[in-house]
Structures are given as C-alpha cells and as structure tokens.
C-alpha cells in the first residue's frame, strides 16, 4: 500500500508539470497582455512607455524562457508578484496570513466546496438509492424531475431568484458577501451565525446543480447491483430488505461514485468562479475571474496550479478510497 501511494505521488510530479506547461502556453495564446489594462487606448502612453512596462514584467523575453523563469521560482513555492497595479505577492492574495483563516480566499472556496460536496452526497445518494429500489415509482419520477430541474437551471439565475425570495421578500438571509457590516461587533457565536447565514444560499445553489449527476449515477449503479446474483442470494437466504440494500448492495454500488468524487474537483473549482461572482463572495473563483480579465499571468498560473494540484490529489484520494472499499483492488 505504501509503495503504491509513493508511486502515485511521484507520478503526480510530471503530470503537474505538464498541466502548468499547457496552461502557460494557452494563457499566452489569448490575445492581449497584462500591460494592456494600463496602456490600451490610453493616449498618454507612448510606445516607449509601453516597452518599459513590458520589460518591467519580463514580457519581452521568449515564452519558453518566461516559463523556465516561472518554474524556477515555483519549485521554491514562490509564485511571484501579481501584475495588477498593487504588485502584491500572488500567494499573499490567495492565502493572506494577516487575515483570519475564514477570510482567506483559498479557504473560503475550499469551505464552500467541501460543504456543498457533502450536501450533494447526503441528498443525492439516498435519492439515488430510493429511485433504484422503487424504480419507475412516483417518487422515482418526481425526484428525476427535481434533480434535472436543478441541473438544467442556470445557477446564476436560480441564485438571483433565491436572493429575491430570502433576501427581500422574506428578509431572513443576507443577499451577498461573506459577512455583515456589524460583524466586528458581534460575539463569537453571533459571528459564526453571521457566516452561516451568508453560506446558506451559496452552498445550496452550488449543490443543487450537482444533485442530478450523482443521484443518477447512484441510481443506475444501484440498479446494476440489484440485478447481481449475490443480491439474489442474500434475498434467498431471507435477509431483511434493508440489510440487503444497505449492507450488500450499497457498498458495491458506491464504487463508481467514489471515482466521480475524485473527478468532480475541477468542476467544483469552475463552478466557484460563477457563484462567487453572483454572491459577491471573496473567494478564489472571484479572484480567478478578475485575474483572467486583467491578464494577470502570475495570478492565473498560481490558481491553475493549485487547481491542477487539487484535482490530482482528488484523483488520488478517490483511488485510495476505491482500494479501501474494494478488496479486489487492494489485493493487486
């Protein structure tokens, strides 16, 4: 097991390098440069001033040299300085050690994604199981409509509807942001409740769209399992229905879901970009969106590298989970 883990970890290195290289090249393919924001269509900028700025950012060098320079810094975990006018270190923006943990961008995004993933699984797995065991029943049909509605509805639109309902008509939840104006003056429990209120809608919206996928996978995987001989055996020896489904069936049916969990990481990070924008949540997704618009290469590269890394870790965790759940894999 240990050698297997080690091998997987080592394999991650070239993959990650490949990811960064491709990201770097694709980023350069997009027209425009980071200096554009300052210089584009600004009559006060002379061509010489433009060149000076480009030199300042190291943009006058060939792409591969730029990549190599970037790589040399990144192995020392130095992601460089942002190209925006504030010129802050990139890591400082994502993980600002001067702020409390809860206000650091990476943590916010991580927290919301973990919460919504947990929520997705808590809701989708029971739905999937019931749909499978009561195939073609009314419940199956209703839940199918329900999860596909969530899947088909544009997240930003659904978010706005919920904001109107809970923020204005019922006036029970905040509309956007990640803390209230009077946050600083609240007691600790008040602060926790304040954060929770701000999290409810974003977590709900980001999980609602994910329900369809997982519950449908769960349903079909369960249907598959129920048809197996060992389930028939279990039933034949007179086990109660619940034991058959939840002990013998569920464990086998969960295997493909574990793989999907690992693969869902990039989707979650992508989703963060949209709902953080709509809810005005100061997370990594919002920063990513702004950075792309500003062509802030170091910032974009840093977020892509972190995203790539998280995806690889997600895959590995899925593999480990898989081998824990399935003795057949462990044996190999």
């Amino acid at each position: 097991m240990l050698t297997y883990l080690l091998k997987r970890l080592l394999e991650m290195i070239p993959t990650l390098i490949g990811i960064t290289l491709i990201s770097f090249l694709i980023l350069q393919l997009a027209p425009g440069k980071p200096t554009d924001v300052l210089t584009e269509m600004n009559p006060k900028i002379t061509p010489e001033a433009r060149e000076r700025l480009e030199k300042l950012y190291g943009l006058d060098k060939p792409i591969m040299t730029q990549y190599w320079m970037w790589m040399k810094r990144v192995v020392k975990l130095d992601f460089g300085e942002s190209f925006t006018t504030d010129r802050r270190p990139v890591m400082d923006k994502i993980w600002d050690t001067k702020l409390p943990l809860i206000d650091r961008r990476l943590f916010i995004t991580f927290l919301i994604n973990v919460l919504s993933t947990v929520l997705i699984f808590l809701i989708a797995i029971p739905i999937g199981i019931s749909s499978a065991t009561h195939q073609n029943s009314l419940f199956d049909k209703i839940s199918t409509v329900f999860v596909f509605t969530g899947f088909a509805m544009p997240g930003f639109w659904f978010a706005l509807l919920l904001m109107m309902l809970f923020g204005i008509y019922l006036d029970v939840l905040p509309i956007s942001g990640f803390k209230s104006m009077e946050y600083e003056s609240l007691s600790l429990s008040g602060q926790i409740w304040d954060r929770t209120k701000h999290l409810i809608l974003p977590v709900f919206v980001s999980s609602f769209g994910g329900l369809a996928g997982i519950s449908r996978y769960m349903r079909s995987s369960m249907l598959e399992v129920i048809k197996q001989d060992y389930i028939m055996t279990a039933r034949a020896k007179g086990l109660p229905d619940a034991t058959v489904i939840y002990k013998h069936g569920l464990r086998n049916a969960l295997l493909p879901i574990i793989t999907i969990l690992g693969l869902s990481v990039p989707g979650l990070i992508g989703g963060s970009v949209i709902f953080e924008q709509v809810f005005g949540i100061p997370g990594m997704g919002q920063l990513f969106y702004m950075s792309v618009m500003m062509r802030d290469y170091p910032m974009v590269m840093c977020i892509l590298t972190i995203g790539g890394f998280l995806t690889l870790v997600g895959n590995m965790v899925a593999d480990i989970g898989y081998s824990l759940a399935d003795p057949r894999i462990r044996a190999k």
Binding site: A30, E40, R50, T85
Partner: protein, 543 residues
C-alpha cells in the same frame, strides 16, 4: 472623479455600463432636517480598487476611493472652470509658459504633518521617475523645470504653452514626502493604507469585500457630515440591485432599464432619489478611412442620413442620453450646437449613394458598384450590450437603403490587438470617455496614426491639425473656443465618425441623504456637505 481624468481619454470598457462614478440632475431634495454629523453611506461597486495611490492606479474603482483620500492643487468647479483645491491661487505668466502655485497654509496630512510645496515636488519627481509604473507620466514630461520657491510656493515652467497643463496638477500628483522619501513607492505600505489629506481616511480594506473610510475631522474644507463611507464590492450588477432593495446599499449606478422601469415603483419613489446628467463620453461609429468605399465622404454622409440617432437613444438607452453631434458633451462651453446635422432622411441618403456610384443594378435589393455588393462588417466589443444593440438598429436601417452590414462582437483584447491595431476593420462601434479639457489632439491629429495610437481611423485634415495645435497652445478660452468650434464643424461635415449618442449617468441615492446638489460634474464633488438629519440616521456608530 472626472477631475482625475482631466486630460485623459480612454475607450469606455464594457464594465462602464454600470457607472460607479456618481453625479447628478436637477430634482433636489427639499431640506427637511438640519445638517447633523453621523450615519454611514454605503456605495456599491462592481470593481475593487487595486491600489490607493492615485498616480499608480489605472482603474476607476481605485480612483474613486483614492479621490476621497487625496486632493490636488486644482480641481474643476461645478461650471467646469478650474478652481483652487490645495492651491490658494496661481499665476500664469503672460506667455503661458510659467505657472506659479500659492498653496494653502496649515493643511495637514492625516498623520498631523503639514502639507507643503515639498510634497508637490516629491510627487512630481516620483511621477517622472523612470521606475514609477504610471500611465500618466506623459503630461509631466512636458515640464521643463519645477522648483520649490518657498514652503508654500511651487513653480513649473514649460517649453511650449500647453493649455491642459493647469489641470494636470490635480490629485494625481500630491504625495506625503515624509512617509515615502527614499522608499520604493510600489512596495510601500501606503499603497493599501494611504495617508492623505482628503475628506475621508482609510479605516480598513478587506479584499474582495469592502473598503471602509472614516471622515477626516480636520478636513481643510470642513469635517464631512457623514461619518463613514463604505465602498462595498459586489461584482454582479443584478446582485447589487437586490442589495439596494434590501437596504444594504445606499448608492449605486443604475442601468437604463433599472432607471426607467425597475425603480419606477412606490418603494423606490419613497425611499430613493434618482439623478441624471450626461457622462463625459460618447459612442460613435468609426470608419476605416483607408477603405476604398469609406474614403468617399458622400458614402459616410449617406450612412449618417440613414441612421436615426433619436431611435437609438430611445431604444438602447431608454431615452437616457442625447444624440451626439460631435466629440463633446452638450451644454459645455466647448460644445458647438450649430454644426451640420443629419436627420433621418432616406431620400438624401439614396441620392448621395447614387452620386457615389452605388446603385442596385441587378435588382436583388442590395446596392452594388463595379460588380461588388455593398456589404461590410461593423466590429464592436463583446460584453457591452448597448453597443451590440446600437449595431443591430443600424443594421436594420442600412438594410432599408440596400446596404448589408454584418455585426461582429469580439473580446476586448482581441478586438484591440488583432483588429484595431492592425487596421483590420471596415467600421467599428466604440466609445470615448473624454476629459473635461477639450484637447483631443491624440484622436484627430494626422501624426497619431501609428500602431497603438488613437487616430486609428486614419483621419487626416491639415486644417484640423492646425486647429488642434492652436487649441492646446493657448490659455485664452475664447481662442480655444473658436478653434474647437471650427473643428466640430469640420468633423460634422467630413464624418470620420458618425457621432451617435452621449449617455447619461443614472445614479440612485437613498433619500435620507440630503445636501446633494447635482451639477454638470455630477453629485459627489460636495460629498463632505451631504448629511442625514439626526432623526433619519440609520447606522449609529460609536465615535
């Protein structure tokens, strides 16, 4: 906000559909309470400031906030004349080459140190420094000599008279020397925790969430009534509008549909006050004058006659704007109302096209000449729905006279780098944000046609060149007026651009705020005089 853009011109980006700059219109609130200190004003912005030192900032969010923290030597008065800010007075030598500023005495930086001419000198030296990454260097490189005559007197000498020179000494330039001397300005703590002398002082800035400012009790023009100014960052305009309804935002810029329809309810009429006034910008359709078809003035005029500008203003802006006749905003001293106008006139349009040799000889409904059909594309930037809608209306109008126009919306950087810079376009729909100073040398002068320069339509008229030169080399307002009025006449006749419309800024402010006096330069110029009567104050804060 406009004072910082004094001599700046730049294309309005897509984001500017929501104006975060706040300025206003006639309807004034009846004074129903005594001015009182207290309360907080929360304003919503889609963009976050990036740096709070004015000369290093390139985005409007940074300038909006930094403008509350820093002042300049001069500023624009509500009638667009230049008045003193930190300067008590100034003298311009008769040849227009030397400007001597006499500074106000006793103004303090918020850390208690007195503001002097050394701070102005320091700011000037910093902005012209090779190592300072600022987009605003150019104006200051025109200065031949700068000197500190005594503690309160600062003098600059120019090589040639330069009319916009005075206004460049606005709020970009003043920096606290005692805090920054000998330091790398881009690395300084002051970029995120600035020390200024303006009406507000930075309290805290939480990235991605809010910038909180407290009033400067020692502000040299008097302590602001409103104790706290919160600049709340809400990237999504629809979300911001909901926050306005819920009471978490007091002030924001509205879109045309929000202004005319969505805020036309009892709730909004009761609780909010809307303002409206023209923005210093205009949207235009520009022709590539190197293109064989559009070289011909008659063709450009024919297209102008085919377009109904009033219709564009009504449909695209819901009436919140005015048709443009030239590159200046109506009701300003430089605006010339008596230029050639192009009403919607299909007959005239057809005649002009016929003169130019365009006729529908094969009867397919599309004009042709020498076997070629009159079909071209118009490029605009993606994300600005107003421009795409404008293009669609023009497309419909041109179809009626037998011209086929295709619309292509492109991502901003691609648009500029691949099409504008390389001159790969037939026509474009774009906008210019203009400064209050009328100098538009960079847009119309024939020497400004190189790549990355702004006369990208390749306009060339020796008389206009001469007038542009004349206009920027004299401080005499009558002579300048004469030059710019003539330029507008020529442009209206030659139509290198078809000037389409000047949009209105449409901010909304919660009605508990009083003392707002809308003028041509907007409403926020006297922010420190806004107040909320004691009985209406909403946010009560410990002092």
């Amino acid at each position: 906000m406009n004072k910082k853009r004094a001599s700046l011109l730049y294309l309005i980006l897509a984001a500017c559909v929501i104006f975060t700059g706040i300025e206003g219109r006639a309807a004034d609130n009846s004074e129903s309470g005594q001015p009182a200190y207290g309360d907080a004003l929360i304003t919503g912005s889609i963009g976050e400031p990036s740096i709070l030192i004015p000369m290093l900032a390139g985005d409007s969010a940074s300038h909006d906030v930094a403008g509350l923290i820093f002042n300049g030597l001069v500023k624009y008065n509500t009638d667009l004349t230049v008045i003193g800010d930190l300067a008590e007075s100034w003298d311009i030598s008769s040849d227009g080459l030397v400007i001597t500023f006499n500074l106000k005495k006793g103004v303090q930086w918020t850390d208690g140190v007195e503001f002097t001419a050394d701070d102005v000198m320091f700011g000037y030296k910093t902005i012209i420094n090779e190592k300072t990454p600022t987009p605003y260097k150019e104006d200051y490189l025109q200065v031949k000599k700068a000197e500190v005559l005594d503690r309160y007197t600062f003098r600059v000498t120019y090589d040639k008279p330069f009319a916009p020179a005075l206004t460049t000494w606005g709020s970009l330039i003043v920096l606290p020397k005692h805090l920054l001397e000998g330091k790398d300005i881009t690395k300084s703590d002051l970029t995120r925790k600035p020390v200024g002398m303006g009406m507000y002082i930075l309290n805290r800035w939480t990235s991605g969430q809010e910038v909180v400012l407290d009033s400067n009790k020692n502000y040299f023009e008097g302590r602001p009534y409103i104790n706290r100014y919160i600049y709340k960052i809400i990237p999504d305009p629809a979300t911001m509008f909901l926050e306005l309804q819920s009471g978490s935002v007091d002030m924001m810029g509205l879109t045309p549909i929000q202004f005319t329809k969505q805020t036309d309810t009892d709730f909004f009429i009761k609780n909010f006050q809307k303002y409206r006034y023209p923005v210093f910008s205009y949207t235009y359709m520009g022709f590539n004058l190197k293109h064989p078809w559009f070289k011909d003035k008659r063709v450009r005029q024919a297209i102008a006659y085919a377009i109904d500008k009033g219709e564009i203003v009504d449909v695209v802006l819901f009436g919140l704007g005015s048709p443009a006749t030239g590159p200046y905003v109506p009701n300003t001293w430089v605006y010339n109302p008596d230029v050639k106008k192009y009403g919607h006139d299909i007959k005239k349009s057809m005649e002009l096209l016929k003169d130019a040799g365009w006729e529908d000889s094969d009867g397919d409904g599309v004009l042709d000449k020498d076997g070629k059909k009159f079909e071209f594309s118009v490029l605009t930037n993606m994300g600005n729905s107003l421009r795409v809608k404008t293009a669609t209306i023009i497309q419909y109008r041109l179809k009626k006279i037998g011209i086929k126009m295709n619309i292509r919306a492109l991502e901003w950087s691609t648009f500029i780098n691949e099409f504008i810079d390389k001159r790969r376009f037939e026509t474009v729909i774009l906008g210019w944000s203009i400064g209050i100073d009328p100098d538009q040398y960079d847009i119309w002068h024939s020497s400004k046609t190189k790549e990355k320069e702004f006369n990208f339509v390749s306009y060339n008229n020796p008389e206009v060149d001469e007038l542009l030169e004349k206009g920027r080399r004299t401080f005499d307002i009558d002579k300048r007026k004469e030059a710019y009025h003539r330029i507008q006449e020529i442009l209206a006749d030659e139509l290198p651009y078809i000037f389409l419309y000047v949009p209105d800024a449409t901010p909304i402010v919660h009605s508990r705020f009083q003392g707002i006096k809308p003028t041509t330069i907007g409403i926020s110029y006297n922010l420190h005089k806004w107040y909320v009567p004691k009985s209406l104050q909403k946010h009560v804060m410990e002092q």
